[in-house]
């Protein structure tokens, strides 16, 4: 039996290390057909099962391997930021709000791969707003390009407790169809419900929150657009913060939201609501009406039939002059970071994934929380406009068949930073807590947005 000497051990260790280092390229070559994918965890287990099914079918069809991780939304945000900062990236990343955050900012710094060729394949199928939302600006190439491949969209519809409206002696059929009048419709119900013993009920779930990530901004933008201020940033990326129409819209939006708050029609906690707090408050029947993204509020009650049917889902009313108000269309999709090791498989997987048939099957498993980015799908598959479901059809009509506009960060990534800094929530708090006038708070907020957008000059578009 040979004796284990010190030199022998050290030589053996060094040989193993050397062999490991030399063998690595061959191991990598053997796995060259594998793509690493980070995907948002589904709202319900069936959604994840559907994704696994898609992966299995893709692997069977191509012989490639997809090494995927299903990660909840907020931790996924942190993983994406960390990966793109360190450079240790997967091959494909998926994000629920690709148009709103991260993608516009990282496209600006040239950290993402331009997917224009892939997106063009399905361009004819895409909703025009969803297609427009992919066109982010790269500050290195000084060009716009499709920096993510969209496949799902959503808007913020109204969620209303029918039973509370009726208990207060009203009917939703009588609700006005113009903006201010629609919101005002619910205010007198609060007193009537409180008189009937519902001590903690409020009329409006207006989210003047600064806690984020998106609800406070979404609510404010709905008001700002309804009052004619959508051109705060135009498609060329230019800010129009001194435009009198924009200023007027911002001031009116702040005035309505903060006055309702100060008059006691909004739960005081709304100033600090986090992402799920408005849903929880709505489910606790703390308010009659809430304006919030997707129909997750309703789907959380999916297995409680009576409550599910008690909620009404509605698109946006008209503006105060009776014209339709476009909804901001949120767009989710997949993107490829620069430095992805298996670009070929990554792009091939994305091409497979964004096929209308694949998209439709996947999103239906999610009960329609997100909608396909392809309007033809909802017109041809009865699932989406099924009148038997009290929520999905109204939501689908609002997002895919009604007027929509992209989110502003698509035009200028600086607006994503302004959103993240919760500039509008801070402005509402300035009025509510600091006693500022809406005009002064609007000026302050617009000045702050100007400072942020100044860091993102767009020279060509």
């Amino acid at each position: 039996m040979s004796r284990l000497s010190r030199r022998g051990v050290l030589r053996g260790s060094l040989s193993s290390m050397a062999a490991g280092s030399l063998a690595r390229p061959f191991i990598a070559n053997a796995a060259a057909k594998t793509a690493t994918v980070w995907w948002t965890q589904g709202f319900i287990p069936e959604e994840d099962a559907s994704f696994r099914q898609i992966v299995a079918e893709y692997e069977k069809a191509t012989g490639n391997t997809i090494d995927y991780s299903l990660v909840p939304f907020l931790p996924l945000t942190q993983k994406i930021v960390s990966a793109l900062t360190s450079g240790d990236v997967p091959d494909v990343m998926e994000y629920n709000v690709a148009d709103l955050a991260l993608v516009p900012q990282y496209a600006w710094t040239d950290k993402l791969t331009d997917l224009t060729e892939i997106v063009e394949i399905e361009k004819a199928q895409y909703h025009p707003t969803a297609y427009l939302a992919t066109q982010c600006y790269n500050n290195v190439t000084k060009k716009r390009g499709a920096y993510f491949a969209p496949y799902k969209v959503f808007v913020s519809p109204f969620h209303i407790w029918n039973s509370l409206v009726e208990k207060a002696g009203y009917r939703m059929a009588d609700a006005p169809t113009t903006w201010d009048a629609f919101w005002d419709f619910f205010k007198p119900m609060q007193k009537k419900l409180r008189d009937k013993g519902m001590r903690g009920v409020y009329a409006l779930g207006l989210q003047a929150t600064t806690t984020g990530p998106a609800d406070g901004n979404d609510t404010f933008h709905a008001f700002m657009i309804a009052y004619g201020g959508n051109d705060i940033v135009t498609p060329d990326g230019a800010p129009h913060l001194d435009d009198p129409r924009v200023k007027e819209a911002v001031t009116k939006a702040l005035t309505y939201i903060t006055t309702a708050f100060k008059d006691g029609y909004v739960p005081p906690g709304a100033l600090s609501w986090t992402d799920a707090d408005d849903n929880n408050a709505f489910h606790a029947k703390q308010m009659i009406v809430d304006l919030d993204g997707t129909i997750s509020t309703e789907l959380a009650l999916y297995h409680k039939k009576e409550q599910y049917d008690d909620v009404a889902t509605m698109g946006l009313p008209n503006d105060n002059l009776g014209r339709p108000v476009p909804a901001q269309l949120g767009v989710g999709g997949v993107f490829v970071p620069k430095g992805a090791r298996n670009l070929e498989v990554a792009e091939d997987f994305i091409k497979y994934l964004i096929q209308p048939k694949v998209v439709n099957g996947y999103l239906k498993e999610g009960l329609g929380r997100f909608l396909p980015a392809m309007p033809d799908l909802v017109k041809t598959d009865p699932f989406w406009l099924d009148p038997k479901d009290p929520h999905r059809s109204a939501y689908t009509r609002a997002a895919l068949l009604g007027p929509t506009v992209p989110n502003h960060p698509v035009y200028n990534p600086g607006y994503a930073e302004a959103n993240a800094q919760q500039v509008w929530g801070v402005a509402a708090a300035d009025v509510i807590r600091e006693g500022m006038t809406p005009q002064a708070a609007a000026e302050k907020a617009l000045k702050r947005i100007g400072e942020i957008l100044a860091k993102y000059p767009i020279t060509a578009s």
């Binding site: 050290l10 990530p213 994503a416």
Partner: protein, 308 residues
Amino acid sequence: MDDAQVLRAGVLPGPSPSVRLRRRAWRGSLQGSEFTWAVAFLIPYAALFLAFVAYPVAYGLWLGHKPALYAELVSEPIYQRTVVNTVLYVAIGVNLKMFGALLLSGFFMRRRWWVRGLLLVYVLPWAMPALPAFVSIHWMLNGQWGLLNNILWNIFGIDGPGWLETSRWLALGSVIASHIWKWMPFWTVILLAGRMSIPQELYEAADVDGATGLRRFLHVTFPLLANLYLICTLLSTIFTLGDFNSVYFVSGGGPALSTHVLATLGIRDAFEIGRPDLGVAAVMSALPLMVPLVILLMRKLRTTEVQL
């Protein structure tokens, strides 16, 4: 004949005396294979240290090294308020917590059975995982349907305030109270251990001299505990400066971003705004306070090594 053969044959000279001295200084008393084995055993630790301590710290310093980041940070409207919050949070939180722990450690020195039982209950907040504990407090303090305001309504018929929702000071106070609730038991146990190691003879001697109650505390207990108390306070200050959980999960930095501290602002800048460099700069801006504290702590540890 190659060099090695020449050396073995004594044709070429061996290492010079200065080289031998350097080698001895480097190897210490270790001889031959002992030194090689020592290096072999050290390598895994050194590799882990480099990978998981040195590299992340260096990477963080590199991320936040640009002076322009600090100019941008200071120009943010939220930053100055955050610094004030951090100072208040640390100053009030640490001192109330440590003074409370000092007093309670005296109470828990009593030898009654029910005091022992109470100690068991008292340390539970510390034993609980921080995240669910702070999330529970967040729900309990909800102004509309939280447990605390429901109790106030049911017992006294009054509507409680929005603890976390309307006032910066109420929210910051709630965060500080939550921090104290969570961590005071830990420091109480540390100071209790310190009290238990004070020789009983000293108290007996003080009794003979007529020093009881407060005088005994002032002239025997406190002087002997002072160094431990100071070290604990310094350590707690360092921990609290980096504390993220209490603020993030109790107030979330609200209302209206008014209760952020540097640790939560760093996370916000890094992951919500998508600017990791700015986030690192926010945390690094605590270094002018942190480094002197660490130096002071190390000095205290060196000078008080033979004292209690």
